[in-house]
Symmetry: D3
Subunit: 153 residues, 6 copies
Amino acid sequence: MVERIVEDNDIDELVLGIGSADASHSKHDPFTAGERIMMITKSLVDLDLVTYAVPIEDLERNSVWVSHVRSMSPDFDIAYSNNPLVIQLFEEAGVEVRQSPMFNREVLEGTEVRERMIKGENWQPLVPDAVAEVVDEIGGIERIQRVSETDGI
Amino acid sequence: MVERIVEDNDIDELVLGIGSADASHSKHDPFTAGERIMMITKSLVDLDLVTYAVPIEDLERNSVWVSHVRSMSPDFDIAYSNNPLVIQLFEEAGVEVRQSPMFNREVLEGTEVRERMIKGENWQPLVPDAVAEVVDEIGGIERIQRVSETDGI
Amino acid sequence: MVERIVEDNDIDELVLGIGSADASHSKHDPFTAGERIMMITKSLVDLDLVTYAVPIEDLERNSVWVSHVRSMSPDFDIAYSNNPLVIQLFEEAGVEVRQSPMFNREVLEGTEVRERMIKGENWQPLVPDAVAEVVDEIGGIERIQRVSETDGI
Amino acid sequence: MVERIVEDNDIDELVLGIGSADASHSKHDPFTAGERIMMITKSLVDLDLVTYAVPIEDLERNSVWVSHVRSMSPDFDIAYSNNPLVIQLFEEAGVEVRQSPMFNREVLEGTEVRERMIKGENWQPLVPDAVAEVVDEIGGIERIQRVSETDGI
Amino acid sequence: MVERIVEDNDIDELVLGIGSADASHSKHDPFTAGERIMMITKSLVDLDLVTYAVPIEDLERNSVWVSHVRSMSPDFDIAYSNNPLVIQLFEEAGVEVRQSPMFNREVLEGTEVRERMIKGENWQPLVPDAVAEVVDEIGGIERIQRVSETDGI
Amino acid sequence: MVERIVEDNDIDELVLGIGSADASHSKHDPFTAGERIMMITKSLVDLDLVTYAVPIEDLERNSVWVSHVRSMSPDFDIAYSNNPLVIQLFEEAGVEVRQSPMFNREVLEGTEVRERMIKGENWQPLVPDAVAEVVDEIGGIERIQRVSETDGI
């Protein structure tokens, strides 16, 4: 998706916001923000592009979310998202938003990847090689299998 | 409901607590506290009554909720609520609670209004004119339709 | 000050933001947000003006402060402040800011009023009558004298 | 369960962590941390054992949870838990974890006790006498019945 | 001080609130709540008294502080404190407060003990033996000396 | 300093933690985390080194600070710091800490740079060119001069 956005838009700098950066060890967010930074940065290392991977902690206040993102991120001109809430918030704040291109959405989306990890199915082909390596290094499969058995602490 | 409470109880000052004041742009709480203050104040402007519309942010701690409300609100003698948790908390703190009178509860309640807004149905007759005007001014229908498509950020 | 702003600017609606609304019982902020709402509303009751007194809790994040204020407040066009930080934040967010007119600043400012309250000196002439009444009703002088003896809990 | 852990493991000091200490007055956590401390301490008073009942407030960040527990608790060598997330977090932090012995899990677990309280069924035999006394003293049955009617404030 | 309170007042249960329980590794609060629980509990182990050592995290809101303390603590009838703010807050909430007896206040107070620890002077005689043992076990002197060199992170 | 650390230690990946990432628009922290990321990344762009600039928000709890840093950061083996508190916290958590080399500390430190900015003196020679450019672009001098006139909101 990043490759496609960059090609189509003559972009030379890209900020990747890592949402819910304070979450980890849950079924929905199994990995820490730091682990996700490693995954993303290693996956994009061959692109000829300045990238920033910026963790964005949840403030639980939609009304200040755009200001919060802006304060944590290098300056940006255009936002990419397919999340209707994110689009609404950026547009109310006067930020131009574009839809991200999506390929094989039903297979590549996070939900499918996580489900395969939990069931011990073949998840590696769905992610970049660099992501699979980080997941292995940190014992990510055992972690997501375990934490998905509970509702929290 | 406010008219009825005022008539029945010989009240000359009324505090309207605006709960979850930190929430907005969600299906359950589409409007900011400031927008809700405008709706309420404009709706009650013709009543001969001193009213305070006080935003109450969630502290996520039921045990301190009454103290929190009291610190944010002008002094009050009686609380009105039909929420069993709110009634329980006020009563444990020694505050007199009365049930609010309810008319046509199944139609006028927030859930019904929000559902109609989301489906593009006829919601205006369910709210005071002043509320409908504020919703229009802020583009409230587009907002609730969009944010109701997601689970959050 | 409010009278002067209203006269000079042909204003018919006024929002008064009550800062540090979560603070109370300290030397700097002896009164709760609710008590301050009462003081302000009662002081302005004779003005022919729609006023909103809106508590603004501290988020301890300057970068989202303007968004936070906007979400808690009815819509406003112009902000009045003499605080350089507040002016800077509003201007960065594109909000027009005007200086508040100040009379006898060195005597009427909060610091002087609080000092007199603590020392048992003549503070009543420095505040509107309605404020003095609220302070008396809530035992405000004893409170500020006591809490000014400590650094906190 | 405590008796069994103590017998089997030659333990002379025990820390009981009271999770979600900031929660109360909800269907899942009807009692305050202080009420739960009373229940636990009174139930264990006859054991020849130094016990600490330590409230642990939720930080909503799994990644710092173990550090948080350690900072609130006297030093401990072994953790007991059957919660897969808790086990995962302690193990990642290098803390030895053992499964708690469980008796009649399907009857004695919190869910069953709370359901009986809500339905007005016979819950007392499922808890130690000291717990039943505290629940009675604080009007716990009325509280849980009421708060289970709502989703929150 | 505890011995004196117990003797004078015919008390059989005592709750010791550990304030600023979320603070540690600072000049003012060098020890974690858990370490402080150990110090207090071990110091009082020979008293014939049921004691609870309850960590109280700061909420940074004086107006809800009493409710917060009550929710974290077993039920209590009388509060002991010499802090004017604490006395004011308890009295406004209708809780009876008594002054704690103080002996050699200028020597035994925390400030003096901490100063001696930082300067490498003779601090042990100012604290119960059990406290000195815990401080030694956790490397407390090196810690307070180091953290007192900075203003924070 | 970064050049020196990299040369001396055969390092090929570097994480730069941006502390107090939630602070901005104050005399001590005039710039947002995002602005600081830009300054750092642009300053290091010519180094042959994988660098991560990671914002670390304050949690105001020293006892969980190391876990928090670890969760936000890619994995690291050695920490560099000259802050005694940071050194103490990392060492208690078993992380190797090394002192950063410092050149001309009394001139290059943040305090000196900020003082010159506020007084309108010659600050540019004290910072990398890329930093000076970012400060200019964002109107940083006017901002720090203004916000240093106040104590906060």
